[in-house]
Every structure is written in structure tokens, then in C-alpha cells.
């Protein structure tokens, strides 16, 4: 089986513990030596809505969810109904054996494993919610997995609860395992058989990556107003603040959040905030304030389906142009976008440096899928990271001028309390910081600020990453979390390459131009309706990408859709 990719899906109502069961399953897979990718779907409701988590796993690296489902755990009827079509021939289905779930429609196609989940849970002393562990136990039995991992993970997951709860869950899991072993002996392939000496791999999502990356990167202050899909970042930041010595503060709204972060940064603290598009609307004024006052700040913008409240719990890539152009007038903004959790980890650390080095706001664009979906990675290696606070002026100088003109656009920054007279001013100002409307001061300051982008392009901007062969029949262009399904799809196409764009401002015009102008066939892939990246590329390079694969329904691309598109191009050719 080696490099084959399998998937298991767990579905049920919101509140049935789907997410935690899925995460446990994926960690079992990881500990057993597999690569995984977890994809989760849930509505903007607390209860009752349909939740589903899918773990895709393989001995090879897995880059994204896949469409076919090899194994289904159905905690409710809806799971069967909604995902019937995804089931492969011979897929296994574990479901509640109490007559309530109707499996007639999958009878012929699938292998049915009815398990009295609630009954077993009750016998173990647990409530209905414990069913998920019964099901996990049964699944492990069928897939040849190691029960020990499940025991460990239940232990770790419930470590904050009392020992009795752990016990009940473990007992239930074991009973589920035994039930399957007894009743369905040798009915399924051992897809999850433990490998020898598996390398250790983290199971990490973008939320973990951003929060922990920020902590590693020396974050000192974060002010945040909760908003899906970034709210879990604040939970992680809140939980670890005392230990790591930074401050997390919940603001009354996003306007306050960014202004508090700016105040903190002005005072000398490494600062950030996080939000989604709707909250970013409210930050746009502060965004430019940071640009104009030259105060570092990092904004993590987690995209979800817009406009308006839109699709709060679904993903999108519709805010690219928004973050590139919001706020009146021209000022230097750095905008970078991560393609997966590992990139997000390194980018947030980098963003904290960039903001301070260039004394300007930095946006890290991520999206709901990237933030929520776990993937296996080797432990992040940040040994090469160095804190760079840029031109910090910490002496005392009565002649200190905050906005002194400079070739690279960057003026030495000081902090309050050192004795220098420091003026930060959102009005146009002279080099001292005092309000000024003269042509000379205006031009000097506007141009000084904008020169930072040139400096950044020279010193820090990263070229897009090319995956696949240097020369290819089809060149895919995309960005953000589309990276996953694209790489997954490319496994089958040695003559397709992928240009993954990570810097949007400054934009690596030359590198993009060079790569695209030699491409034989260009395909742009985006999760929005207007091909925002393609527009940017045309504006910057003149290259008009004619073929677009767009999707704006909140769901991620599946590699199958990309393969289908590639095939259709190949046929045309």
C-alpha cells in the first residue's frame, strides 16, 4: 500500500465531539508512522449543525483532504446522507446499531459495521458523548491500529478532567475495539498498521503555528477581538501569556485592538493582532495609522467567505485585494500569505521582524482551512531565526528626530521613557514629527515611507516557490492554502509545475514574470470569484492568465477537481 492515500471521515452533530475524535484519530495515525491531513467542516452554529472531520493519511506526505472516503464513522443519519457519494466501493462504515440510522443506500457499495455505540458507552459508565471513543476503538480494530495510542491520547486529551472520566473513555474505547474484533474479525484491511520506528511528526494546524510562532518570535503584546476563523489563536495566546511573559488583551472591538497594538508598539513592545475580513474592515484606519506613524504592527488576517458576515466558518481567498489597497493614500505595507501551517509558523516569526525592521504594518494572510486543518510536519526548525528589531535608537539625544530622512526609508526609532522627545503623528509631519503641510516635508515623508518597500524588496522579499519541474506542460499559479490540494494533485503529473506566491507586497514582479513568461500553459487557481491574484499578476507583469479555476463556495479545492482540470487541459492540447 505504501504511498497510497486513504481517508477516514467522522461525522455527527455539533456537540458530539467530532473534532476531538478526528484529532485523536489523526494523532494515532501519526504516531503509527503515517502522514496525515485533517479537514474539518462545521456550520456557524454551536449545536445541532452537521460537523465532519476527515483524516487523510498515507505513508507518503499528504498535502490535503481528498474526495474519496475509505472509511466512515457515522454518529448520525446526516453523515450517511451527505457523504454517501464520497464513499469508495467497499468503504467501511461504523454506525450506531440501534435501528435509527438507515444504511440501505450504502448496503451494496459498502461494508457495514453496526456497533451499539451508546449502549457500549453506557456500559462503560459514560454518556452519549463517549460514543465517539467507542467508535474510535472499533475503527482501530478494523484498521489494524494500536489501541495503546488511543489510550494515551484519551489520557492526554482529558488530562484536565478527573481520572474517572479518562477511565470511562478508555474502557469504552476498549469495549468498542473488542466488539469489532469479535464481531467483524478480519473484515477490513489493516490500513493503520503501526510502522516500525516511525519518525516523530507533529500534527499541527495553522492556529497552532501562528500562536506558537508568535510566541517563539518574541511577541510581547497582542490585542484581539474574537472572530472566526482566528479566535482559536487568541485562546492559545491567552493560555500561555503568563508562562511566556507577554500580554494578551481582549479589546472592545477591532478598532481598539489595532490601536492598542499600535500604542503598545509605540511604547516598545512587539505587537500583533488577529482578525478576519470583517474585523479588518474596522482595522483599515489603524492599518494606515501604523503606516503613517511608522509604528510596527502585525495583523494576521484569517479569510472566510464574504462579503458581510458571509460564511463565518467556511474558507475563502477573497481578501487579497482588500488588504493590498485598504486605507486612503499610499503607504508601504507588507503583505505575505502562507500556504500551510509550516509556512505560517515561519511567516509569523518573520512578520514580527519585518514590522519592526520596516516600522510599518505587516499583514499575514491565512484562511479558515489553513487555520483549522491539521497536517503532519517534522518539528518546526526555527534555529536559524534571529530577532531583528531594525533601527532601534536607545541612547539619549536632545537632537533626536523621529522621522529623519534616510535613503532606505527607515528612520531610527526610539521608545518613550528613555528621555528623548519622541513625536509620532498621524498628521503629515516634518522630520521631527510636528504637523507640517509644506510641499517639502510632505514629499520628503511620503517618499521616505514608500522607499521602505524598495528596501524590503531588495533585502527581504521572497521569490515565489516553484514546485515540480523547472519546465512543464502546465504551470499552475496560486497562493495560500490551495498549495495543499495542488501539490496533492501534482503527485500524478510529473509535467505540471506550481508557482506558489507568498509575497504580495512588495510583489516579486521579476521572478513571477520570468517564471510565467516561459510557461507553456498557465492555469490560475483561486478561492474567490474574481481571480484577484490573476488581476494582481496582470497589473504587475502584464501577463494575462486566461485559464482560471475558481471556487467561492467556502469549500477548499479537492485534488480531484484540480486533476480533472488538468486532464481537460491536456485533452484540449
Amino acid at each position: 500500500m505504501s504511498n497510497k492515500v486513504y481517508s477516514i471521515k467522522i461525522g455527527g452533530q455539533a456537540g458530539q465531539g467530532i473534532k476531538s475524535a478526528g484529532l485523536i484519530f489523526s494523532k494515532i495515525a501519526s504516531r503509527s508512522g503515517y502522514h496525515i491531513y485533517n479537514y474539518i467542516e462545521y456550520p456557524s452554529l454551536i449545536r445541532g449543525g452537521h460537523n465532519v472531520m476527515q483524516t487523510t493519511f498515507s505513508l507518503d506526505k499528504v498535502y490535503s483532504q481528498i474526495r474519496p472516503v475509505n472509511f466512515l464513522i457515522a454518529l448520525n443519519q446526516e453523515t450517511i446522507n451527505l457523504h454517501l457519494e464520497e464513499l469508495v466501493e467497499g468503504a467501511g462504515i461504523i454506525f450506531e446499531d440501534e435501528g435509527k440510522i438507515d444504511v440501505t443506500l450504502c448496503k451494496d457499495k459498502c461494508r457495514l459495521f453496526p456497533v451499539p455505540l451508546k449502549k457500549i458507552a453506557a456500559e462503560a459508565g459514560g454518556q452519549d458523548i463517549v460514543s465517539n471513543n467507542v467508535a474510535l476503538g472499533a475503527a482501530l480494530a478494523l484498521l489494524g491500529g494500536d489501541l495503546k495510542h488511543l489510550f494515551d491520547l484519551i489520557d492526554e486529551d482529558l488530562s484536565s478532567k478527573d481520572g474517572e472520566v479518562v477511565k470511562i473513555n478508555q474502557t469504552a474505547a476498549k469495549a468498542g475495539y473488542d466488539y469489532a474484533k469479535t464481531n467483524f474479525a478480519d473484515k477490513f484491511e489493516p490500513l493503520l498498521a503501526p510502522q516500525n520506528n516511525p519518525g516523530k511528526k507533529m500534527v499541527v494546524n495553522g492556529t497552532d503555528a501562528v500562536a506558537y510562532g508568535a510566541i517563539a518570535g518574541g511577541l510581547q503584546y497582542a490585542a484581539i477581538y474574537p472572530m472566526s476563523p482566528t479566535s482559536n489563536i487568541l485562546s492559545l495566546l491567552a493560555a500561555n501569556q503568563e508562562e511566556y511573559g507577554y500580554v494578551y488583551k481582549q479589546a472592545e472591538d477591532e478598532i481598539a485592538a489595532i490601536n492598542m497594538a499600535i500604542g503598545a508598539s509605540f511604547a516598545g513592545a512587539r505587537s500583533m493582532t488577529t482578525t478576519s475580513g470583517g474585523g479588518f474592515c474596522l482595522m483599515t484606519e489603524g492599518f494606515g495609522l501604523a503606516g503613517q506613524t511608522e509604528t510596527p504592527v502585525v495583523i494576521v488576517e484569517g479569510m472566510r467567505g464574504g462579503p458581510g458576515t458571509g460564511l463565518p466558518t467556511w474558507s475563502a481567498q477573497g481578501d487579497l485585494r482588500f488588504v493590498l489597497h485598504s486605507h486612503q493614500g499610499d503607504f508601504p505595507r507588507i503583505v505575505i500569505a502562507a500556504g500551510d501551517a509550516e509556512e505560517a509558523f515561519h511567516m509569523i516569526m518573520k512578520a514580527l521582524n519585518l514590522a519592526e525592521k520596516y516600522q510599518t504594518p505587516v499583514v499575514l494572510l491565512v484562511d479558515k482551512n489553513l487555520l483549522d486543518d491539521e497536517q503532519t510536519f517534522s518539528e518546526f526548525d526555527y534555529s536559524g531565526y534571529r530577532i531583528d528589531r531594525g533601527k532601534m535608537f536607545l541612547e539619549k539625544d536632545p537632537e533626536y528626530h523621529r522621522y529623519v530622512n534616510s535613503e532606505d526609508g527607515i528612520s531610527p526609532r526610539t521608545i518613550p521613557g528613555l528621555g528623548n522627545h519622541l513625536v509620532a503623528n498621524s498628521d503629515e509631519h516634518n522630520s521631527y514629527g510636528y504637523s507640517s503641510e509644506t510641499i517639502h516635508d510632505r514629499n520628503e515623508q511620503v517618499q521616505k515611507r514608500l522607499r521602505k518597500l524598495d528596501t524590503c524588496a531588495k533585502e527581504d522579499m521572497e521569490k515565489p516557490i516553484l514546485y515540480g519541474p523547472e519546465n512543464a506542460d502546465i504551470t499552475i499559479v496560486s497562493w495560500g492554502s490551495n498549495k495543499g490540494p495542488i501539490l496533492e494533485a501534482m503527485k500524478d503529473y510529473p509535467f505540471v509545475n506550481y508557482l506558489h506566491i507568498t509575497w504580495m507586497s512588495p510583489f516579486p514582479t521579476d521572478a513571477v514574470f520570468q517564471q510565467l513568461s516561459k510557461a507553456k500553459y498557465l492555469l490560475n487557481i483561486e478561492c474567490n470569484s474574481t481571480a484577484q491574484m490573476a488581476g494582481l499578476i496582470r497589473e504587475k507583469t502584464g501577463i494575462d492568465i486566461l485559464d482560471q479555476l475558481l471556487k467561492d463556495d467556502g469549500r477548499p479545492f479537492f485534488p480531484e477537481e484540480i486533476r480533472e482540470k488538468i486532464n481537460s487541459i491536456l485533452i484540449k492540447k
Binding site: Y212, A216, E242, Y246, K249, N259, R270, P416, L418, H421
Partner: protein
């Protein structure tokens, strides 16, 4: 210690002659000199409005932000370096129109900053529209037939929101204002000082004579520690019935005192360092 001369900047105030901002300017400088505030220990943040021009006229570290947003900036500063005295200069429009949400929520959280409200009952810098403190019926550029709206009672609102220090002073009572600015800063918590400020250009009603004629000092036996009384007293406003003085003061933990990680040393006094997060990453296996 800073001298008055050292506070001088190259810019002479360009407020209209007779503007109450001159009194505030003088009082603030007095308070600075008297208290030994300087660039080693003090910062002020200003909103946008005539009041906001203050940063050009006092040589002390300052941040002029966006209209309506000086309070959150000040909150961020104070949390990052709570050894600093942090002042906010804001207007009635800046603080209660554009910035009302920050005002009430920062009061609630009791950030340890001093908010000085230039209450001229008008939008000065935008040349004379009504503000949230303009009296009903007032004729302005935006209300040629008279203001349809009731004004806020700033201090009543401040106390209801959670401010732990609430006072009112007339801007041209320079000695009184100097004193009150010092007191407000001494108070540990969210201090609000409503400064009755004549705008001689756009609010001819709230003139210096109006304020001298209609204000009176809170009686010596007034007890500023009783919140119910303070709420009642701050409702008072009318001809000959504008009390000035300290209406309310109570000691409560400040927002900044709730964070153990900055109990001993201000946040910014820590070196920014790469942190070892091995422990956190361990939880991901």
C-alpha cells in the same frame, strides 16, 4: 526636572485668540513642571480636533493618532510600560462621538490613564457642527434649525461606565486645572477630567463669561466616594448650576495590575528574545 522653557516647541499655538485650549495648555505645562514629568516618565496621546494640535506645542513625548482613538493607543502604551504617566487629550467629539466605545470600555476596565476632555460642546476643527455634548436646540452649521439631540452628561456616563475618578474644571481656571491634572494622574485608575472649554469661534454660547457665571465649586463637605451620590450630582447642569470639582474617586485594581507577568517589571523592560517553545510543540504530537 524640566523647565517651562524646555517645554517650548518651534510652534506657537494656532488656536483662535481667546480659545480655552490656551488655558489647558498652560495648566498642562504647569503640571508637568510642578510634577517633574519629562521624557523619561511621561507620554501623552491626542485625538484629532483643535485639542489634538497640543502635540505641536508641548515638548513632551506624544502620539497623535486618529480621530476618536487616543484612548486605545494610551491603553496599549500603559500596558506595555506602566511606569509611564499616560495622558489622553481628547475632545467632546473625539471622545464621545467617534470614540465613545473606547471611552466606556476603557473606563470599565479601569486602565490607569488620565483622560482630559476638552469639552467645547462643538466640533471645532471641522468648523462647527454639533457634538454629543451640544445642548438641545443649539444652532450650528449642522443644525441651522437647532440641535435635535440631547447632550451627554459626560461625568455621569463616565461613572456609570466604570471610571474611578471623575472631575470637572473650567479650562481658564489654570491653577485649578493644574491641580486637578496632577490629582487625576496620581489616582491609580481611569481618571476623567471634563474641561469646560470655550470655543470662541463656533460656540458663542459657551463663552468664558458663561462658564464663570454658571459654575460653582462642589461644597467642601461633598463626599466623592459615594457612587450613588456622584451619579446624582453629575446629573446637575443648568444656569448657575454647573458644579466643578472632584465628583467621584474610588480605589479599584487597575487594568494593568491584573497581569502577573508585568507585576515586577514593565513589559518593555524585557528584552525581545526568541523563545524556546519546545514545550508547546510537544503538545502537538
Amino acid at each position: 526636572m524640566i523647565t517651562p522653557a524646555e517645554l517650548t516647541t518651534p510652534n506657537f499655538p494656532n488656536w483662535c485668540p481667546g480659545c480655552g485650549n490656551f488655558g489647558i495648555w498652560a495648566a498642562f505645562k504647569n503640571a508637568i513642571v510642578a510634577s517633574g514629568w519629562d521624557n523619561t516618565n511621561t507620554v501623552f496621546v491626542a485625538g484629532i480636533g483643535c485639542h489634538g494640535h497640543m502635540i505641536n506645542f508641548v515638548k513632551l513625548t506624544s502620539f497623535e493618532g486618529l480621530h476618536g482613538r487616543p484612548i486605545p493607543v494610551a491603553n496599549g502604551i500603559k500596558m506595555s510600560n506602566h511606569r509611564l504617566n499616560v495622558f489622553v487629550f481628547t475632545g467632546d467629539g473625539d471622545c464621545l462621538g467617534e470614540g465613545g466605545n473606547h471611552f466606556i470600555n476603557a473606563a470599565r476596565r479601569n486602565h490607569n490613564v488620565t483622560v482630559l476632555i476638552h469639552n467645547n460642546n462643538i466640533y471645532g476643527l471641522t468648523t462647527g457642527q454639533t457634538s454629543p455634548t451640544t445642548r438641545k436646540g443649539f444652532k450650528s452649521k449642522s443644525t441651522p434649525e437647532g440641535n435635535p439631540d440631547e447632550p451627554f452628561k459626560i461625568l455621569n456616563l463616565a461613572i456609570a461606565a466604570g471610571a474611578t475618578f471623575a472631575a470637572r474644571v473650567y479650562s481658564n481656571d489654570i491653577a485649578g486645572l493644574t491641580n486637578m491634572i496632577i490629582k487625576a494622574n496620581e489616582h491609580q485608575g481611569f481618571s476623567v477630567v471634563e474641561m469646560l472649554q470655550p470655543c470662541v469661534t463656533f460656540n458663542k454660547e459657551c463663552s468664558p463669561t458663561f462658564f464663570t457665571d454658571n459654575t460653582y465649586k462642589l461644597p467642601a463637605d461633598y463626599d466623592p466616594t459615594n457612587i450613588a451620590k456622584a451619579l446624582e450630582k453629575t446629573l446637575e447642569f443648568g444656569p448657575k448650576q454647573i458644579p466643578v470639582g472632584l465628583f467621584y474617586k474610588v480605589d479599584k485594581p487597575t487594568a494593568e495590575s491584573n497581569y502577573p507577568q508585568i507585576e515586577n517589571i514593565p513589559l518593555v523592560d524585557n528584552l525581545v528574545e526568541k523563545r524556546d517553545i519546545t514545550k508547546l510543540l510537544q503538545t502537538l504530537y
